[in-house]
């Protein structure tokens, strides 16, 4: 002891560094090598398992679609106060016109409509209808410009006016039929400063034609939206007299004429498309869901909703999910319990029979395991229905009257029976493998020391089989929480699980955000329960085999 304390200075390795850091370096190399060995698996799991799950869960808060599709409207709408009971200003309506016009060219407006329809009924058709009619608004200006001068009808003239000289030269030189890329549009600088809106709109149009439609810009007439922007710009009375490029004469002429143009009253025009555009609710919904991320899906998943005054509970007749979560947990517990009750004796018999008989019985346990899930569930339908085998037998035996047959299916009972049967092997197998390792001599020893059969089982055998119960319970419980085919087929209305709603929102309503939120909550609940189990029982006590 004393020697050790005297030589307590750091031990040195041969190269003069401390032994500790030298060891660490060696270990680090080793760890790195080990990591490289498992790297293929790790990357595989990350790419095919973790990343998709993370991506899916991310959808529960993702909401960029609103601000991406209506960028101008949502920016302007940020300052609007809906509680005052007044509609947004006409600038907002004009921004909405621009946004919807571009969105319908890109065919994105209906997608946004279905997104917002989850929050407010009727928005889906509102956007579909508006997308069809929004072009009419721009045509008011288009017609007036074109009537004023034929110059405005021609796409070549527009390109000459809006595009830079170098781009124009490239575009003219470009052969439509060749494989070469179409020269990307570049705006003319003077026009950009004179007519900022027109230039910005035309750029969006040019980008769309060249990159999304992949058509020749020289042959595409500009959108009606470009004419509206030109009108707005000219109404600002820019100084066009200094501009001397292509189309300067026509621009000057248009400048003089726009004052007399018939103008579009955007709020009124939108009301004509659908009176819902003059409903505060629609605007408040757009405003509430403008941010890039939303808690809306999660609130919805716990029967709440966003309102202008913060989150609030949904009305009683729309509350569903909390009830389903509780039901799912409760029924999974019941199923786990009945699996323990039925599986324990079976596993005990299997573990204590001679190997030959045990193997034969084991096949009987495994046989249903190898049968298709749908076949087994359908078989339960035949067994359990009111005109089914069990009821027929009971009526024949005189246990129940013919007119009061038992309802064993399309309710909770049906789900519990069918799922207990389906999940039973997951309980029996871990139990069996744990029981196999308990030496029978322990029981004999207990009895020889004077214990009754019950005491010997309860005090000696059972505690040793608990790790098997733990493993089986975790397997059965977690599997049953995520089940949806069996509850859908035999559960009726009272025996369905939260996973049935998740499946519905994934495959039918396409509300993936809500499905992701429900799934995230379910995942959190399972992890929470797992944590609690670890704290109470200890995860080290779980054994899947000897």
């Amino acid at each position: 002891m004393t020697d050790a304390t005297q030589n307590s200075g750091p031990m040195m390795a041969a190269d003069g560094t401390t032994l500790k850091s030298s060891l660490n370096r060696a270990l680090r190399r080793q760890k790195l090598r080990a990591l490289m060995l498992i790297a293929p698996l790790l990357i595989f799991v990350l790419v095919t398992f973790i990343a998709p799950i993370a991506d899916m869960l991310f959808r529960s808060v993702e909401n960029q679609i609103v601000s991406d599709t209506l960028p101008r409207t949502t920016t302007l709408l940020a300052d609007w106060d809906g509680d005052a009971g007044e509609l947004p200003s006409s600038e907002v309506f004009e921004a909405l016109y621009t946004d919807i016009f571009i969105a319908q060219e890109r065919k994105l407006h209906t997608r946004l409509g279905s997104r917002l329809n989850y929050e407010l009924t009727g928005v889906s058709s509102l956007f579909r209808k508006s997308g069809r009619k929004v072009e009419d608004m721009g045509e008011v200006y288009q017609d007036q410009f074109e009537d004023l001068d034929g110059f405005w009808k021609d796409s070549e003239n527009w390109n000459a006016l809006m595009g830079s000289d170098s781009w124009l030269a490239d575009q003219t030189a470009w052969d439509d039929k060749s494989d070469a890329r179409q020269p990307a549009f570049e705006p003319r600088e003077e026009i950009e400063s004179l007519l900022p809106q027109t230039a910005a709109t035309f750029e969006i149009f040019a980008d769309f034609v060249q990159n999304e439609d992949e058509d020749n810009l020289a042959k595409e007439d500009p959108w009606a939206l470009v004419y509206s922007a030109l009108y707005t710009d000219l109404m600002q009375e820019p100084d066009v007299s200094g501009y001397g490029g292509p189309g300067s004469a026509e621009l000057l002429q248009a400048m003089g004429a726009v004052g007399t143009f018939e103008n579009v009253d955007y709020p009124a025009a939108f009301e004509e498309i659908d009176k819902d555009w003059h409903s505060i609710d629609v605007w408040q919904t757009i405003q509430t869901y403008s941010p890039d991320f939303t808690s809306g899906y999660f609130l919805n998943a716990v029967d709440m909703k966003k309102s202008p005054d913060g989150p609030e509970m949904r009305p009683d007749n729309e509350q569903l999910y909390i009830k389903l979560f509780i039901r799912t947990l409760f029924m999974s517990l019941v199923i786990t319990g009945s699996c323990i009750l039925l599986g324990y004796p079976v596993a005990w018999i299997l573990a204590n029979l001679p190997a030959r008989t045990a193997n034969l019985l084991m096949i009987l346990v495994l046989l249903p395991f190898w049968t298709s899930l749908l076949v087994r569930t359908s078989a339960w339908k035949v067994m359990l229905q009111q005109q089914g085998v069990i009821n027929d037998t009971l009526v024949w035996l005189g246990v129940v009257a013919d007119d009061s047959r038992l309802a064993l299916i399309n309710n909770q009972t049906g789900t519990i029976i069918a799922m207990t049967h389906i999940l039973l092997p997951f309980m029996i197998l871990p139990l069996y493998s744990v029981m196999k390792t308990i030496p029978p001599s322990y029981l004999r020893a207990a009895k020889s020391l004077g214990a009754t059969n019950w005491t010997a089982f309860w005090r000696v055998y059972f505690p040793q089989s608990v790790p098997g119960i733990g493993a089986g319970s975790i397997l059965v419980f977690i599997l049953s929480i995520g089940y949806y085919i069996t509850p859908e087929l035999v559960g009726g209305t009272t025996g369905t699980f939260i996973s049935n709603r998740i499946a519905y929102h994934i495959s039918s309503s396409l509300n993936w955000g809500l499905a992701a939120a429900l799934g995230a909550i379910l995942l959190a609940v399972v992890l929470g329960l797992y944590w609690a189990y670890d704290r109470i029982v200890g995860i080290d006590n779980v054994k899947l085999g000897g």
Binding site: K107, L108, T110, R111, G113, S114, N117, Y118, T121, G122, V123, S124, S125, R128, N317, E318, Q319, L320, K323, L324, Q385, Q386, Q387, G388, N410, E488, L489, G492, T493, T494, T496, R501, I506, S507, S508, S509, L510, N511, W512
Partner: protein
Amino acid sequence: MKLTKTLLASTALTVAAGMATADGHMANEMTIVSWGGAYSNSQQQAYHNPYMEKTGINIINDESSAEAVAKLRAMNEAGNVTWDVVDVVAADAIRLCDEGLAMEIDPDEHLAAAPDGTSAEDDFGDLLVSDCFIPQIVYSTTFGYRTDMVGDTPPTSVCAIFDTDAYPGKRSLEKRPINNMEWALLCDGVAKDDVYDVLETDEGQQQALDKLATIKDDVIWWSAGADTPQLLADGEVVMGSTYNGRLFSVIEEQNQPVAMLWDAQVFDLDGWIIPTGLSEERLARALDYIYFATDTQRLADQAKYISYGPARASSAPLVSTHADLGIDMAPHMPTDPNNAQNTFLYNYEFWADYRDDIDAKFQAWLAQ
């Protein structure tokens, strides 16, 4: 060294083989998605077999129509659409069109005209409910009842489902609000023309749910089209709703004591869409198939195998007899004048708007 070489060589071979099969797929195969069962069989006989014979293209069947919308969205996000032509119901087609997952098809440009020269657009008429959708058949959701369980007074009106005194026993209804809400209002005294005006309001939705509540304990809710035929055949229910083709097969092909109650049947459409994002070559093939499969004669041919009405007006007179049973198919069509005395057409626009909202209320009501 040797190992590396072998590895390299085999990798190169695999890549080459992979590219070869990918090319092969492009050359002479197409994947068509449909519903499976008797319905896919009718398409196989009426469309796929003659088309394969004519062109030498191999058609691969995928029975995923029930999840088509979700799967197409996933494929689109992954940027790898593997389906060429997809069979969906009209409501799903509208949804796919809204989401930009199905491409718009101009009927006059891409479809055959009727034999008498009527343009495709006029021949399909009002059934072209979406720009992306080529209707194929008209089917209906209607009721069948057990002839041996209704006594001497078989039901003649849809309201028999709410009359548990006259027709005791369970009924089967689909586990969704669509159709059930309309029938409930209709039997609660709402005039047929007002049904959707009433259903727009919260009170109207509550009224429909209250009417359904009167039989809630007597209903088995189904989610697969095969459920009601099974329940009827087993005598589990006295009457139930399902697709008319399923009932035809129970009655005529399996000879069960079941009869049709056509009253207030709801017409719906099923047809083709082409996914967006196909390569030019695959798109051309898909359009060629659609042109072939939706002409007047082919649509009429399909009715030989299943009792759904062809979507073209010009096909109706060509409907002949069942391919195996030899019975005349016209009286079994939902569109036959005798059957179509009182009908609804699925209100696509209404349900596109109200589906999410009413479904939430309906499911909450079911769970109570």
